[in-house]
Assembly symmetry: C2
Homo-oligomer: 263 residues x 2
């Protein structure tokens, strides 16, 4: 297998667009964008001077690599309709195993950038963890090489580990953002500026430089300060959903404390 040069991108969403720009910047050639929706497909293809097709039957057969940057749910069907005799076929999903691709090519793998992508937002890949997996040492090597050109943070991770990683990203990223949303919502309802708790959020995030984060846990639940917990639950009487979160996580913090004490 030669060095990867020509790439076909399947999908034209955020991950695909960010990857396309980064790959071109590093000297790769994206020869084709394949996307069911013509509008976004042609838009991305135009931006990066690639050809466009809406049909999987017209996928360029001679590329070195095919990146399926599509939704998890679309992966099985697209895979079943791809059959390539050369080139590495990879997907970019955190929660789908590599083997969904097994009928597409003798050489398959995964290229999973662990970050939230949002359209329009600049996401330089430089420090973003790239998790790669390949069905042979040779494929893995190629993927490590390619990912290493986009990021200084490349890891070989198997499908099971990648799924766990994706799950923890939901806790640490998505759910955390939801807690911030809850705080923002409550402050707004009581005419308080969100600015007030920003330093606390920054401090909490900065604390991840430590290990054993439960040792940094503070607050009413950790202190088992039941009067304050009761007061807070009462304040949330008209926000039953937030009350449920408060109740559940407080209970678990107390529980976790004793579990740790026993170790």
């Amino acid at each position: 297998m030669d060095r990867i040069k020509n790439i076909v991108l399947i999908g034209a969403g955020n991950v695909s667009a960010h990857l396309a720009k980064a790959l071109i910047f590093k000297g790769f050639t994206v020869v084709q964008v394949v996307n069911r929706s013509e509008k976004s497909g042609r838009k991305l293809a135009g931006l990066i001077k690639a050809s466009y097709t809406g049909s999987l039957d017209q996928v360029h057969p001679g590329a070195d690599m095919y990146i399926l940057a599509v939704s998890d749910s679309a992966l099985p069907e697209i895979s079943s309709r791809l059959s390539l005799s050369q080139g590495i076929v990879v997907h970019t999903s955190g929660s789908v195993g590599m083997n969904v691709l097994q009928s597409t090519s003798p050489n398959i793998g995964v290229l999973y950038p662990l970050q939230t992508f949002r359209s329009g937002k600049k996401s330089p890949f430089q420090h973003i963890p790239f998790c790669v997996e390949g069905n042979s040492t040779e494929v893995e090597q190629k993927l490590v090489e390619l990912a290493g050109m986009l990021s200084d943070n490349v890891h070989v991770i198997n499908s099971e580990q990648r799924m766990i990683l994706h799950l923890t990203a939901v806790f640490a990223g998505n759910f955390t953002n939801y807690l911030f949303t809850v705080a923002e919502d409550l402050l707004r309802q009581y005419d308080l500026p969100f600015e007030l708790i920003k330093p606390l959020i920054k401090q909490t995030a900065a604390n991840i430089r430590h290990t054993d984060l439960f040792k940094l846990q503070t607050g009413p639940a950790l202190r088992e300060d039941m009067p304050t917990i009761e007061k807070h639950l009462k304040l949330l009487e008209n926000h039953k959903e937030y009350q449920e979160i408060y109740h559940l996580i407080s209970k678990q913090i107390i529980h976790h404390k004793y579990r740790n004490d026993k170790l």
Copy 2:
């Protein structure tokens, strides 16, 4: 009322120690440390060259300000045993109303620094929000002045608002740290380095510069990607507590989405 100069500190925990150092640095004099436990009381008093007493009957009567930096639960009893004819008496609690102090002095207030304090850790107050409240314009003015010397981030906030603020800090700070703990724990169990999700956490925290944080929400719940949610819940089969959190917050994210759509 003259400018505040001489201060008595009641309590010798983290908040008290941090305040003591910052006040002295700004030219205030801490004349006395009052603390039931002699060891920590004398230690703090020695550090800042103040006198020490273990008895509330021996509180220095002529100070300009008395700061009760004690646990919420100790506030009612300590307040009932303090009776001062001059000086401002304040507490530093987020979740207790100002009026717990009403029998202590004609001049009462609150000085609440919104941050997590941990012993040993440097916590410069410079950008930490200070929420102040006084039972008269004059007291409030004095407290704004004093807090303004410690921090560039001073807000006049009444007792009800302060309680909400404290509640939101539990969501955005304490509960967020717990979610990081969950992620750390799961990664450790599957031999994955915590380093892998640090960039995501940094990005999530950096997003608070935006408003309307729910617009930044991503992840399987927002996409209503039920196969991934089911996969994640299955992965958590042996971690029932984490599974409960996953289930509850995912449900709320989906619910929140439709609530917002309706607005």
